[in-house]
């Protein structure tokens, strides 16, 4: 027992005793999984509630507001319902693949949380190939989706699975290329390293580092939306055409796994964009120790949650693309433009050295461009609200 405890506390390496090693191995697995489930599952649940409330507001509905204050416990009730539901497997389905597919999707997305940082020191594993690891582990998702589509033995599911695979594989190219431009600028693949290469002021973010990275942010964001099967790219589960796409035949907890993975993906996408372009946990040097860590966590979470909100907002605002438009956007626009981005970033780094006066001026000019773009957007929204032919707009989110 003493030996076992030592093994856990020191975790120094092979002790030579098989029994101890086995218990240690299983124990570490248990801790890692418990951490993920305790942090990630409630988060995805609350995001699911937030998304439904926001969507309802955007469509002049109320949304779930019965379970708990403002309906915030709706996700727990839904989860309980899914556990109690009958787990149906269609008679003609391929049993093994049908049951295994949701877990593959789930593993692919939850695996990504292993390298996502929360603050300077709070990260499960800071791999030296972190940015690559995220792309690699999430590439298990299309495999799971194809498996579920094929194993369901249903044409809607099969069509949904095939669309999804084609879409994810296509959009992985612009996403990887845009991330490559960031890696070029940072000089490292580690997510923490990428954040350290940026600063707390917007002018130090990679978003405003040079004009190519500025546009690269939008390519990366769009490509990630498509990889996550979010509207306007939710062709794989287009309700009006394919019932529910690859998850048509699923029910109970297996269906819940697909939904959980979708909302976990929201956070993964938001925080990877945050790490790569928005400076991650960088805060002004005003605190130390625990306060600093808490501040970093708050800043990181705030930036990520704003992005999560934007993704939800886009979903309930834009109509769905057609399949050919989706492919056109990827192969004819995003792929060549992101190649140009990598090239442009490299040339920019040669001509304008990092930290030079010209680079600072360019960064602040780009910040101005960004601010004026959002200002224009705000004016547009205000004008539309004024012109809107409605009696009264309820803008209180908690009404």
């Amino acid at each position: 027992m003493q030996q076992l405890l030592d093994r856990f506390i020191e975790s120094r390496g092979w002790t030579g005793d098989w029994a101890i090693e086995l218990v240690y191995f299983l124990g570490m697995l248990f801790f890692a999984v418990a951490l993920l489930l305790v942090v990630v599952t409630p988060f995805t649940g609350i995001v699911s509630w937030a998304e439904r409330r926001i969507a309802a507001r955007m469509q002049s509905r109320v949304g779930p507001n019965r379970v708990g204050p403002q309906g915030i416990l709706q996700w727990a009730a839904d989860g309980l319902k899914c556990i109690l539901k009958e787990d149906l497997i269609p008679e003609d389905a391929d049993r093994i693949l049908f049951t295994a597919a949701p877990y593959l999707v789930f593993c692919g997305l939850f695996g990504a949380f292993a390298v996502l940082p929360f603050s300077e020191h709070l990260v499960i594993a800071d791999l030296d190939a972190g940015a690559f690891y995220v792309m690699a582990i999430t590439s298990l998702v299309p495999l799971g989706i194809i498996m579920s589509g094929w194993a369901s033995n249903n044409k809607w599911s099969l069509l949904g699975g095939m669309r999804s695979a084609a879409q994810i594989i296509s959009y992985e190219i612009p996403a990887a290329l845009s991330l490559l431009a960031v890696v070029l600028a940072a000089g490292t693949l580690s997510l923490q390293g990428i954040i350290r290469a940026q600063g707390w002021s917007p002018a130090d973010w990679f978003l405003f580092r040079n004009p190519f990275l500025f546009t690269g942010f939008f390519y990366f964001f769009v490509a990630n939306l498509a990889e996550g099967n979010r509207t306007p790219f939710d062709l794989p589960e287009a309700e009006s055409e394919l019932v529910a796409g690859y998850s048509t035949e699923y029910s109970g907890m297996r269906f819940a796994f697909f939904m959980l993975a979708e909302w976990a993906n929201l956070y993964v996408v938001a925080s990877v964009v945050n790490v790569a372009f928005l400076g991650g946990w960088n805060v002004p040097p005003i605190a130390e120790g625990v306060v600093l860590t808490i501040l970093q966590m708050v800043v990181f979470a705030a930036k990520s949650l704003v992005l999560v909100f934007v993704i939800i907002w886009v979903r309930w605002t834009l109509p769905r693309l057609r399949v050919d438009q989706m492919m056109l956007l990827c192969w004819k626009y995003l792929v060549p433009l992101s190649f140009l981005n990598v090239l442009g970033t490299a040339v920019w780094m040669m001509i304008v050295p990092e930290g030079s006066a010209a680079g600072r001026v360019a960064s602040w000019l780009l910040v101005l461009v960004g601010l004026s773009l959002s200002g224009l957007f705000g004016l547009r929204v205000r004008k539309n609200l004024k012109d809107a032919d409605v009696g009264r707009l309820y803008l209180n989110p908690f009404s």
């Binding site: 092979w14 191995f25 030296d128 190939a129 495999l143 194809i146 498996m147 095939m162 594989i169 992985e172």
Partner: protein, 164 residues
């Protein structure tokens, strides 16, 4: 833990490979190959070669196998569509054992037999080490492979553009 992980991943890799060649259904075969490839990625991870681990997952398990499964699904291949090779079972077994022997001999000749993995290999398998080796010692091979891949890509585009 490293040793346990090594044995688990090795077992999975070999079991996946065996299932790949023994399954009759093409889709089960392809999925067994996925298991094998992911297990090899796990082996890379236990050697602290995180970059190779990510590449293995991204390229093989992610892209190549999705395309293979995609083709199987589009053509809707079933067991009955598989053409039976004109080889009897003992002959097939003999052929596979012979090719394994040739591979082992080649490995013995070119890699100089078994070499122990250095215990204090700090930074081995990291991106820096890999890049240094690729762009200095193996630069010529690297460039040759790049040109080959480029030629293959151009060839694929030309074939795809041909009007049938």
């Amino acid at each position: 833990m490293q040793t346990i992980a090594f044995w688990v991943f090795s077992f999975l890799a070999v079991a996946g490979a065996v299932l790949t060649v023994t399954r009759k259904n093409p889709l089960s075969s392809a999925l067994s190959l996925v298991v094998s490839l992911v297990a090899v990625a796990g082996l890379f991870a236990t050697l602290s070669a995180h970059f190779l681990f990510a590449i293995q997952l991204l390229v093989y398990a992610g892209a190549v196998m999705v395309l293979v499964i995609y083709v199987i699904m589009i053509l809707n291949l079933r067991e009955r569509d598989m053409r039976v090779l004109g080889l009897s079972r003992p002959r097939a077994a003999l052929a596979s054992v012979a090719s394994l022997a040739v591979l082992l001999v080649l490995a013995r000749v070119f890699a100089g037999g078994r070499t122990a993995f250095p215990a204090d290999a700090k930074g081995l398998g990291s991106i820096e080490e890999l890049a240094t080796a690729l762009f200095t010692r193996y630069l010529l091979q690297f460039e040759v492979v790049s040109v080959l891949l480029l030629a293959a890509m151009v060839g694929a585009v030309v074939l795809a553009m041909r009007k049938f």
